[in-house]
């Protein structure tokens, strides 16, 4: 054994040392595992909590007895029968009003059925139960309903139905839907991305490829990084001041001949969201551009390319997957943000689809917030359903962006 070796443990000392090293490793590994478990449990709890609210027993009564209108069981009514019933049951003024909104003959059976429930039978929800309660204490619930609401029917219901997606808002939870909110959210995402993607990528290209490295660039860079952390409500204030008030002629569409609106349009909100996600877009695009290897730029310059040709043909195509990742984050942020929309003036109740950038609008988070603040339990149930819709929408938009990214990510 040579002299130097004595500085290291040998034999049993080595093994005891090794055991200590493994022990430390095990402790840390366990800590990391627990962190993962905590994360998984929290997310599972979140999803369970949402699902728990969206499904369950409902006790309801009809204010008017179905037998007064028809002898057939109401679930079996055909479109023609429903038309007759509605025509007889409703006052002619009410019927004509509905007919003017959309021809009664052209409405589907399910639409007419909902009208029948809403206008004639006047469904009245007495109580709702969560999914857990419904599954575990079914007998108790049945006994309770029989005692408290002898006339009521008890039904296990999914509040999330196809009608929920396709109907606009209503003051009755049973007939309310998220159609206007989903469309509003899609408009927001569209406008925000249309604004933030080109502006963000442009700014990133300039900062990365053209801007000289001096104090001014440093200040701008630092501020962009800081802006990414500014509370969203502040962006809401900005949107209110700039888009809603200052640029009202543009954002209300007055400059384009739209007369019946003010600055609180989906355009104002979308642009506010665009500014909100802009720092995120810039930082992501910068990172993506930075990740393009310098050897590629040199190769292009080496064959006599100008900087613009280098950026356009080589840097941007290679940075595109990273830029798409930034867009995915921006989409998620836009879908989820609530505070700026409240400030910019999202409507809490509209039943008309937003059909132009100058429409009044609402968005899913606003709708969810609105419903959860209602005292009636059935509104909490539809809020839970709306959350599911929001999550699915988020996942599908992100999935689309990821698919697009993978298409661009064609590796040579």
């Amino acid at each position: 054994m040579n002299e130097q070796n004595r500085n290291y443990p040998e034999g049993s000392a080595f093994y005891s040392e090794l055991r200590k090293r493994y022990l430390t490793a095990t402790i840390w590994q366990t800590l990391f595992l627990s962190a993962l478990v905590i994360a998984v449990v929290s997310l599972t709890a979140l999803i369970y909590n949402v699902l728990d609210g969206a499904f369950g027993y409902v006790a309801f009564e009809y204010k008017n007895d179905p037998a007064e209108f028809t002898p057939t069981p109401i679930h079996e009514l055909t479109k023609e029968e429903l038309l007759v019933i509605l025509k007889e049951g409703l006052s002619s003024g009410a019927y004509n009003k509905l007919d003017n909104e959309q021809k009664m003959e052209k409405r589907s059976q399910s639409e007419l059925y909902i009208l029948f429930l809403e206008r004639l039978l006047q469904i009245d929800t007495k109580a709702t139960w969560s999914m857990t309660d419904s599954l575990t204490r079914g007998d108790e619930i049945r006994a309770e309903v029989a005692e408290k609401y002898p006339d009521a029917e008890l039904e296990f219901r999914s509040w999330l139905t196809p009608q929920f997606l396709t109907t606009p808002m209503s003051s009755k939870a049973e007939f309310a839907g998220v159609r206007t909110a989903v469309l509003g959210s899609l408009w927001l995402v569209g406008i925000a991305i249309l604004f933030a993607l080109p502006v963000g990528v442009g700014a990133a290209v300039y900062l990365q490829e053209y801007a000289p490295k001096n104090w001014l660039t440093n200040i701008i860079q630092t501020n962009i990084n800081n802006l990414a952390g500014v509370p969203s409500i502040v962006y809401g204030m900005l949107g209110l001041a700039v888009f809603v008030r200052l640029l009202e002629t543009l954002t209300s569409g007055a400059a384009f001949g739209v007369t019946d609106s003010n600055g609180r349009t989906v355009l104002s909100a979308g642009l506010t969201m665009g500014i909100l996600v802009l720092p995120l877009m810039i930082i992501n695009a910068q990172e993506a551009i930075k990740a393009v290897p310098d050897s590629l730029r040199q190769a292009a310059f080496g064959v006599g390319a100008t900087r613009w040709q280098t950026v356009w043909y080589h840097v941007l195509p290679n940075a595109l997957p990273g830029i798409m990742t930034g867009s995915i984050l921006a989409i998620s942020r836009t879908l989820g943000e609530t505070a700026p929309l409240i400030v910019v003036g999202a409507s809490t109740f509209i039943s008309l689809d937003p059909d132009s950038p100058f429409s009044k609008f609402t968005a899913l988070p606003i709708q969810i917030y609105q419903w959860t603040t209602r005292p009636q339990a059935e509104f909490h149930a539809i809020a839970a359903s709306a959350i599911i819709v929001l999550l699915v929408l988020l996942l599908s938009l992100n999935a689309t962006a990821i698919l697009l990214r993978n298409r661009f990510q064609r590796r040579w």
């Binding site: 490295k213 050897s295 080496g302 043909y313």
Partner: protein
């Protein structure tokens, strides 16, 4: 009339990074259609000097050049000279093969296209690949990824790409240092072919390569201010057999460096 033999001349050329002088006072006359090697220990400024020849150092923040670099009696660092034009005339092959992440065909066609090439692209691609001794290996897979080629093939593709824009001078920055001995040999053979039409300046760490392949050799060394300079420039034979400078002799005989 003496100038006509020289492709490029430097006149007291110095390269600075901010206040630090990396390469100092280089005076070199590079002969046309010859291979000139630049050798020297690591960090002596060989690559910096080579990159100064086609203004690739322009992209390094804080880097500036003093003195003159003359191509056809025109100072390439003159105010009215566009660096893009310089790089069009003086092509470059880099240390690590860096083909574009595109097809083999497109690797050659792109440079031609952005420079406004008006001839028949297919012919240019074939001719360039033939000149780079790569045609027979890739002629059936021109639309395949350049990344599917071996390192040596990629480097020859990079040479073909450079030839395609028909430069006057080709700079090579240790073009074989990332390659195996067989690929290295092929690159050296290729250089001998290319010098019939082009002037080649090559930076190399490999003494045998310089001795085997080059006609002239410039020996670079740093001084006590850490600034590199050409201490000896002569035909390769002289440098390797009867060097005038003791430091060159020590270096080429492997006594240091």
């Amino acid at each position: 009339m003496e100038n006509i033999n020289y492709a490029i001349e430097t006149n007291d050329l110095s390269i600075h990074y901010g206040s630090f002088t990396a390469v100092k006072g280089v005076n070199m006359k590079v002969e046309r259609q010859k291979i000139t090697a630049i050798i020297g220990p690591s960090g002596c400024g060989k690559s910096t000097l080579l990159r100064a020849f086609n203004r690739m150092n322009d992209f390094v923040p804080g880097c500036h050049v003093t003195g003159k670099l003359l191509l056809d009696n025109q100072n390439l660092y003159g105010k009215d000279v566009d660096p893009v034009e310089v790089r069009r005339k003086i092509g470059m092959v880099f240390q690590k093969p860096n083909p574009f992440p595109k097809s083999i065909y497109e690797n050659i066609a792109w440079g031609a296209r952005i420079n406004g090439f008006k001839g028949k692209m297919d012919e240019l691609v074939e001719q360039s690949l033939r000149s780079a001794a790569l045609w027979d290996e890739v002629k059936d897979k021109l639309q395949q990824s350049a990344y599917a080629l071996s390192g040596g093939q990629q480097q020859r593709l990079c040479i073909a790409r450079t030839i395609a824009i028909q430069p006057e001078i080709i700079l090579m920055d240790e073009p074989a240092s990332a390659l195996d001995p067989i690929s290295t040999l092929r690159i050296e053979e290729l250089m001998q072919e290319l010098k019939k039409n082009y002037t080649i300046i090559i930076v190399t760490h490999n003494m045998q390569q310089a001795a085997r392949a080059s006609d002239y050799t410039a020996m670079m060394m740093i001084d006590d201010q850490r600034a590199g300079g050409v201490i000896e420039f002569d035909d390769t034979k002289t440098i390797f057999t009867r060097p005038g400078d003791k430091r060159t002799e020590d270096y080429v005989t492997g006594r240091f460096g």
